[in-house]
Amino acid sequence: MSNSPAATKRPGRSGGFASRKLAPYLFLTPFVLLFIAFIVAPLVYAFYMSLYRDTLVGGRHFAGAASYIKVTGDAKFWGGVWNLVLFGVVQVPIMLGLALLFAIVLDRGQVYAKGLFRLGFFLPYAVPSVIATIIWGYLYGPNFGPFTQIAKALSIPPPDFLSPGAMIFSLANMVTWEYAGYNMVIYYAALKAIPSDLAEASRIDGASSWQFARLIQLPLLWPAILLTIIFSINGTLQLFNEPYLMRSLASNTINSSYTPNLYAYSLATQGQQYGYAAAVSFVLGIVIAGASYIFTLITNRRRPGQ
């Protein structure tokens, strides 16, 4: 019996094998506990709440899918989504296009004071969006905003950054200011990871600088670009801080359903309609996941350089 394969194995200490089997669960426990408590449980609870209807008289009733049916036809919700689609279609390409251009230029070292640009572009990302909104709010403001001051000094009508027509661009400008440098750093890091002998090889093959960027760098950058686009879609559809604070400057332009998150927030805090607010959040999550998924499908079909 002592010649059986099991006995010829290394004489492990008792418990050594068992502890190696248990170790991964031990290492996962703290993270998984928090994950369950603050991601899984809220999701489950929100879903449960979304199936009930809160009424002022009579309390909470089971309503099944009624809230979801109501959201699909809720003009306020879709109006907010539409605002952000318009916002994103303009803002995201401008922001990511600039970030990509700057990253390529800086990576090639075709400028003076490279380090200053890299740091300077990134600096706004260190400013919390609340603070950024406060600063831009004062810059836009009719009280003592410098642009209003310039217009008054020149006796021309001051620009109204807070009007219904201009607000979406004013918000887009703030978001671009906050995140363009962040996206540039992502592209810059990805460009630095491209092996430098590729540049040498394509130069020997007679490729132009533009051909090199388009045919070699862009396809290799594609995972990073895709990542930033999905982050941007996600961030755009969740816009809250900037419009929420700008409301105190322009309450006529930004109503309580200007963005879907603003809508969910006001439903929950002012209307006490927790069930309906949860349904709105869920549908928003589905819209975001759907938009990211469709985008990935489309771009995977036609990747540049393939």
């Binding site: 703290p30 998984v32 200053l116 001051q149 890091a189 540049a199």
Partner: protein
Amino acid sequence: MMSATPDIATFDAATRRPGERRRSRIILTLLLSLFLIYSFVPLIYLVLSSTKTNGDLFATFGFGLGTEFNLWQNLSDLLTRDNGIFMRWMFNSVVYSTAAGLGAAIFATAAGYAFAKFKFVGRKPLFALVLGAVMIPQTALVVPIFLLLALSGLSDNPLGVILPSMISPIGVYLMRVYIEQAVDDELLDAARIDGAGELVIFRAIVLRLVAPGMVTVALLSFVGTWNNYFLPLIVLRSQDYQPITVGLATWYQLAQQGGGGGQVLFSIIITGALVSIIPVIAAFLLLQRFWQGGLTAGSIK
């Protein structure tokens, strides 16, 4: 020429004449300078405005100097306003962000280590779940978290902000990739043969090898928590518990509403905004290396 170190920068050097190259270099520098000015304008405005009296904010040009240098008075007003609540908010932000950064780094490293170096039942679906969580709109979780905290008696408790901020799914992902590359399997096996327990191996070997990756995750969570507004806004009711973002925003809204002497707050808010961004900018400048390293790992894989 051919034997020079191949570098992307040499690409244009070789294909263009020197004069042409210098001209394009100047044009591109000017182009980037425009955007650099754009990046700095709001910050310069903030610095200039923080030196002005409330009257000068209205009476003098926004991008110019005031009639007197009032920064010290503004700082003193800021620190004494509402019994010095500003320093309390700063302190809260420092505590919440530091706790979130440390917790996220340790928990994400432990979880990332389990995913990177162990085979266990449920490994793949669990990792897919963690990755999927990156896509969940964070704001969608905030109201249910608030209601659940209320049910468990934790409403208006700083733990309601700190604990959720310690979860970093992207950190788990980054640490898994990092550990796969930085920790050698043979080293772990050698330690096991020597009789080291799993916790000792983690503490003595793994933590030491992956410290740079942990700093990246800690920095990401620190900054994310420092900048967070929605979660503390909903979860914390008492002013004494609020972080700097919620506190300053409350002052801002008060000032905007005008009445009740709110306008006196303008120069205080501007000075407070300036003071509140200094720690984050300092953290970025000091830890730049780690910050960029983390982004590289995230974007390539």
